[in-house]
Amino acid sequence: MRPIAAVEFPPEVEATYRKARRLAWVTVAYVASAAAFLYATMGTSQAMRTSFFEDVVSVVPSVAFLVGTAVARRAPKPDYPYGTHRATSIAYLTASLALCAMGVFLLAEAAVKVLSDEKTTIGGFSLFGHVVWGGWPMLAAIAYSAVPSVLLGRAKLRLAPKIHDKVLLADADMMRADWMAEAATAVGVVGAGFGLWWLDPLAAALVSADILKDGVFNLKTAVLDLADRRPKNTDGSDWERLPEQVRDMLRGLDWVADAEVRMREEGHIFMGEAFVVPRPGADDLVRKIGQAAEAAKALDWRMHELTVMPVERLPDLAPR
């Protein structure tokens, strides 16, 4: 089969994309180092195993982004005529599931803690021959673990809409989940020091509910994108304007009486069909249609492939 053209990001998008990949690598490296640090301060306890699991889950969106974008940018081949852009959607689904898993996991952990009558007790910790309260090194470990999450999360949140990458957005949500969970733990540690042992599961439950809400929102978007829903903008706050822009551009052409478009999202890019009703007497249609498709692509770098089809009348139930 004859494949579509290879996708090339415009230079400024390409630069943003490279930056995002760097951030993802930094995330992987930092999560690994934070896991090592936690291992050193917390020993072989249950808490250690729990935080190790959390670290593994929290790195999933970054890995999904690195793998997904690399696969999505492969050139289309005869066996993959539409390219492999759906890899981005699959990566997004994976990242959303990881976010849901994190929320469920933290919520379950808080619930188990309460149900099995566990209370945080923090005694001493040997530090260079002195015994200090164990809460202080814990808070240091938490700060080390949370601060980069805040910074990385913000950077990713800024970049995601520029390259229209929802995986990166889910990754930013995961960073946010990460530092919020750490903040909840910090509240728990400080609270435990006052003998308020119930503050730990309470803070964890509140935070995990928020993370779960984020995860469900992303999961819903990921599934609906795969079901070819009408495209929304990167953060899902509104409908994407691009289909209307293309339609209005086509309607504005002097040889076009009416036009409608149908569009779907494939990872970073959009593909779709346009139906145009030519005015009576319009000649040289093949050339004009070719020009119209090119004009549509010129509107936005994400408009990758548009099939323009001349029709006598528009399909009955046009997309709203």
Binding site: G123, W179, V190, W197
Partner: protein, 239 residues
């Protein structure tokens, strides 16, 4: 919306920290404060667990490494002890409901009780090893080999089964040619280490949950004495 979380958390943490700089960390039930003030004795639960907790002199009080440590600590802070004996499960339940304050039962930090109870930092890292009497050559494989153990320590017999050796109950006098014991005890028993450690256990003292000041005070007493505790264990094996 993405910012409120951290501000609230930091604000709450700072407010809490500012509220109680004086005596921090605190006990959920003020145990340390109350026993120090002499309002009531420190209630210490115990159960037999050789060599950590041994039967006492017949007056109902325990002997051994852990009871002695708790006695020394209580003395150092001027606190009376009320000994309470019970099974390990009973002690754990009592700790959970604050009907005792501290428990000694040879607890390890990897115990099944998790965060249901509090615990000190490990006061001793004790490796159980097989020792050989002078002149006895250690086999390459312990499968089927008879190894003696102090009959009061069934947990060490279990560790021997784990490597396929045949545990033989014995008394402190008759440990030759091979016997399992904790590393600091070997010399006192006239044995030399033969082979790797069977198990390394980190010993802790259990505390009532959420009694942070109590646990910290106990840690401050135990941690500087770790070497001394090892020597004490060696002396214990000659009993």
């Amino acid at each position: 919306m993405r910012r409120w979380g951290i501000r609230k958390a930091v604000g709450l943490a700072l407010a809490l920290a500012a509220a109680g700089c004086g005596d921090y960390p605190k006990d959920a039930r003020d145990t340390l404060e109350r026993v120090r003030a002499g309002a009531r004795p420190l209630r210490v639960g115990w159960t037999l667990a050789e060599p950590w907790v041994g039967a006492g002199n017949g007056e109902g009080d325990p002997a051994g490494v852990e009871p002695d440590l708790v006695r020394d600590w209580a003395k150092s802070i001027g606190v009376q002890i009320e000994w309470v004996s019970g099974s390990e499960a009973q002690l754990v339940r009592a700790l959970q409901r604050n009907t005792i304050d501290v428990a000694v039962a040879g607890f390890a930090d990897s115990g099944p009780w998790g965060a249901r109870i509090g615990q000190t930092q490990p006061y001793l890292e004790a490796a159980a090893v097989i020792g050989a009497a002078p002149g006895a050559a250690a086999p390459r494989d312990w499968k089927g080999v008879e190894v003696r153990y102090d009959r009061r320590r069934p947990d060490l017999a279990a560790a021997l089964r784990g490597i396929g050796a045949v545990p033989v109950p014995a008394d402190a006098g008759g440990m030759a040619p091979f016997a399992v014991a904790y590393e600091p005890e070997l010399a006192a028993l006239g044995l030399a280490p033969a082979g790797k450690a069977l198990a390394t256990e980190r010993r802790v003292v259990a505390t009532a949950p959420a009694e942070n000041a109590l646990t910290l005070a106990l840690d401050r007493f135990l941690q500087p004495r770790r070497d001394e505790i090892g020597r004490r264990l060696a002396a214990e094996s000659r009993r």
